[in-house]
């Protein structure tokens, strides 16, 4: 593995142990997950025990040690989204993509995750696709959003 990007990220945070979580966020943004070699490099540069870094990487939900799909679909299931039938949307998306929350589709296109609140409760249920927010989602709207992404991908492939 080429450590240049990892080193740049660590340098950006001035090799501070305090910045470990921020460093891991940046690495994950760059590689879509936390590669083991990158974590070992972080341990070396921050002079930390790799076990401690592994502990942090597995404790916080936003980190993933395995590769995530190209598109990320985040469904909010906070209380407000829950009472507005968020769980039904999850059932529909899971069925459509054939994945459970925290999993990536077999073709590596979609990563589905559920979060406990995105703080956009006034317009729930909320779904975020590749950083773009959608409000007042229902299972039909969710299906349309995913269909649109699938179509786009069909065009790119053909």
């Amino acid at each position: 593995m080429d450590f240049r990007h990892v080193d740049t990220i660590i340098g950006k945070h001035q090799e501070k142990r305090t910045a470990l979580i921020s460093i891991l966020h940046d690495i994950q943004n760059r590689y879509n997950h936390l590669p083991e070699e990158a974590l070992r490099r972080v341990a070396l540069r921050l002079q930390m025990d790799p076990n401690d870094i592994y502990g942090v990487a597995t404790f916080y939900k936003s980190f993933s040690l395995t590769s995530r799909g190209k598109h990320s679909i985040t469904l909010c299931l906070g209380t407000a989204c829950h009472v507005r039938r968020g769980p039904k949307i999850l059932t529909e998306i899971s069925r459509q993509l054939n994945v459970k929350p925290g999993q990536t589709t077999k073709d590596n296109m979609f990563y589905l995750q559920v979060v406990n609140c995105l703080g956009v409760c006034a317009i729930g249920p909320v779904m975020v696709v590749d950083g773009e927010y959608y409000g007042e989602v229902n299972s039909i709207k969710a299906k349309r959003i995913i269909d649109k992404l699938n179509k786009k991908r069909g065009r790119v492939n053909s």
């Binding site: 142990r17 407000a80 009472v83 039909i140």
Partner: protein, 617 residues
């Protein structure tokens, strides 16, 4: 951007900014908050940019991309100042009309105004809209006037004046006395007196001290901290500066949860600008006081909203809480005295310093002073952020401000206090809202989430939701919390699946007590609250699930069945098209029916049916 080196510099700069702003005859504020983003406010802003350029009136009309005015449900929101015309549900296509009518000719565009749901009258100004009328907006007042990425906007509205007053006209002890006299209590949930916390931290031995701003707003259904940090980040920094000066700290941290990217970004921008202008750094305003702030990002762990877990997280460690026998004000971040307050608490500080503790403590009830921001969400007509004086009743919030139920349904409860709180039944809606009254009825203030529930909400399902939420978020340190919540979840799952029996509720209550009594941190200690309050006020719903195997709210899929009303079905075929399991049969223009044996009970048919023909039992 200039360097502000003294009070007179600040005064001069403020005057200069105001004189610059006066060249604009009008200001168009487009909400750039996360809520409005979901409705495409970015496009609206760009449309305004294009149109102003095209009509060559950009020199007379300022365009601001502001923080959240709170009425998220009606987004994207656009306000025209100084006329204070409030447009809602604005689309990019509406922009040329707003420019030609309102901006150029001073006429209102009626179809974009809010319509009173009862009188069907159009309302032009936001303060006349029922949603805003009963509010007292002190902390949120500037959200739609400020571009959070411009420090100038904050300074023009009197920003950093309280800091100047604190640094030059008050001793640290006097500031603490002032905060104590104001009776400000922490807005994060527990309601600990802020002045007392500051005093304890000031008195704690040690040279290096820290202040922390907690923006790990993990309570699901709450987003006031996000809106404050996103929309007016300098007010938080000013609060922290005053606090740090009073306590004797020179370094601060703003801990932002990872789910709030815009709040984090705006906080970073604000910090950079404050450093460049000299409000952060060495010798601030030549007072001899040094202070700097950094941001720290969370990683999606609810428990990190707890102070000791948050501190561990800033240290770059796993976010596990520790015993609070030694308080964080004595030994916090890296073992040093640390004062941690919530975003909304910090936002109150500049106001108290500016207007005085007497003024502040004149608002609210005997023991709870000031205003509180609530996020009013769920099954209520008007959803959004609501800032009200303490002591206002739940009824006023839910019915006068919130406009009552959606779709004519009956509201049966409101959930406050997040996973540590509870459900308050509609029969108690005359309750004045403050720290003590909510506790008395088995809930708590929490950070301010208010999730309204109607007859379509199953209270067993809500109790199950919170237990499963906390089970997942438990850090696993204490056995009672880790295992107890798991078992409670299993019992509740069983009840919703029709497998509850005569002993289920008794066992549930016993377990709840053990978890509350034997867990270390607030997460476990308060975890049984949602279950216990649901049992206290809605026991009959639990009994319906257990004895009659029925879910009265028609939510628990194992206990419900879908069918199509022959009377209402128009045979349009929409339900058949969306059904994921092909469980719906029927020819076009004929009455459709559902085959229950293959129905997955997803509810898509009910969502799409325009004739309201899909019934749930």
């Amino acid at each position: 951007m200039r360097k502000v080196k003294s009070i007179s510099d600040l005064e001069k700069w403020k005057k200069y900014i105001i004189s610059k702003q006066k060249q604009y005859e009008m200001v168009v504020s487009v909400c750039g908050g996360t809520g409005c983003s979901a409705y495409g406010c970015q496009n609206v802003k760009e449309a305004f940019q294009r149109e102003l350029r095209r009509k060559k009136i950009g020199e007379k009309v300022a365009l601001k991309y502001t923080g959240c005015p709170g009425f998220c449900e009606k987004g994207p929101l656009v306000t025209i100042h100084p006329q204070n015309i409030f447009y809602q549900r604005v689309k990019a296509e509406d922009v040329p009309l707003i420019i030609s009518e309102t901006v150029q000719n001073g006429r209102r565009v009626d179809q974009l105004l809010f319509e009173d749901p009862v009188l069907h009258k159009k309302i032009a100004s936001s303060q006349d809209i029922p949603f805003y009328r009963a509010q007292m907006r002190l902390l949120l007042r500037n959200n739609d006037l400020i571009d959070p990425t411009l420090i100038e906007d904050y300074v023009a509205l009197g920003g950093y004046q309280s800091l100047a007053k604190a640094l030059f006209y008050m001793k640290p002890e006097e500031i603490i006395e002032e905060i104590k006299a104001s009776c400000l209590k922490g807005r994060g949930g527990a309601g600990y007196p802020t002045g007392k916390k500051w005093e304890n931290c000031r008195k704690a031995p040690g040279e290096a001290k820290y202040v922390i701003c907690n923006c790990d707003e993990g309570d699901p259904g709450a987003f006031m901290d996000r809106s404050l940090l996103e929309g007016n980040p300098h007010s938080i920094l000013e609060g922290m500066l005053i606090g740090a000066y009073a306590i004797g700290a020179n370094q601060g941290f703003v801990y932002v949860r990872q789910e709030y990217p815009l709040a984090h970004k705006n906080a970073e921008i604000a910090i950079k600008q404050a450093r460049r202008t000299g409000f952060l750094g060495k010798n601030i305003l030549s007072s001899g006081f040094d202070f700097d702030v950094e941001t720290a990002k969370g990683g999606g762990a609810f428990v990190c909203g707890e102070s000791t877990a948050l501190i561990a997280s800033i240290e770059g460690k796993v976010g596990e809480p520790r015993s609070k026998q030694i308080h964080t004000v004595t030994q916090g971040l890296w073992g040093k005295p640390t004062n941690l307050n919530n975003v909304e608490t910090w936002a109150n500080v500049p106001l108290i310093i500016q207007r005085g503790s007497k003024w502040f403590s004149s608002i609210g009830t005997e023991k709870s002073k000031g205003t509180k921001i609530f996020s009013l969400v769920g099954k209520v007509k008007n959803t959004g952020l609501v800032e009200v004086p303490m002591g206002i009743t739940l009824k006023e919030i839910i019915f006068d401000i919130g406009g009552g139920p959606q779709n004519g349904k009956r509201i049966k409860a409101v959930q406050t206090g997040g996973p540590s709180g509870g459900c308050i039944p509609a029969s108690l809606f005359d309750l004045p809202v403050d720290f003590d009254s909510l506790k008395q009825v088995g809930s708590m203030m929490g950070s301010g989430g208010m999730i309204v529930m109607d007859e379509g909400t199953c209270m067993v399902d809500v109790a199950k939701y919170f237990v499963n939420f906390l089970k997942e978020e438990s850090c696993g340190k204490c056995l009672s919390c880790r295992e107890g919540l798991k078992r409670m979840g299993e019992i509740l799952n069983g009840i919703t699946e029709g497998e509850g029996n005569g002993e289920s509720l008794e066992l549930l209550e016993e377990l709840a007590q053990v978890v509350a009594d034997t867990s270390l941190c607030g997460l476990g200690k308060t975890a049984p609250n949602p279950v216990l309050s649901a049992l206290r006020y809605f026991r009959s719903e639990f009994e319906d699930h257990i004895q009659r195997k029925k879910c009265p709210a028609a939510v628990c899929t194992h206990l419900i069945q879908f069918s199509i009303s022959e009377e209402n079905c128009t045979g349009c075929g929409a339900c058949k098209k969306v059904c994921p399991t092909q469980a719906i049969t029927g020819e076009k223009k004929q009455i459709h029916s559902i085959r229950n044996e293959i129905c997955s009970k997803c509810g898509s048919c009910k969502d799409i049916c325009k004739a309201n023909a899909v019934m749930v039992q």
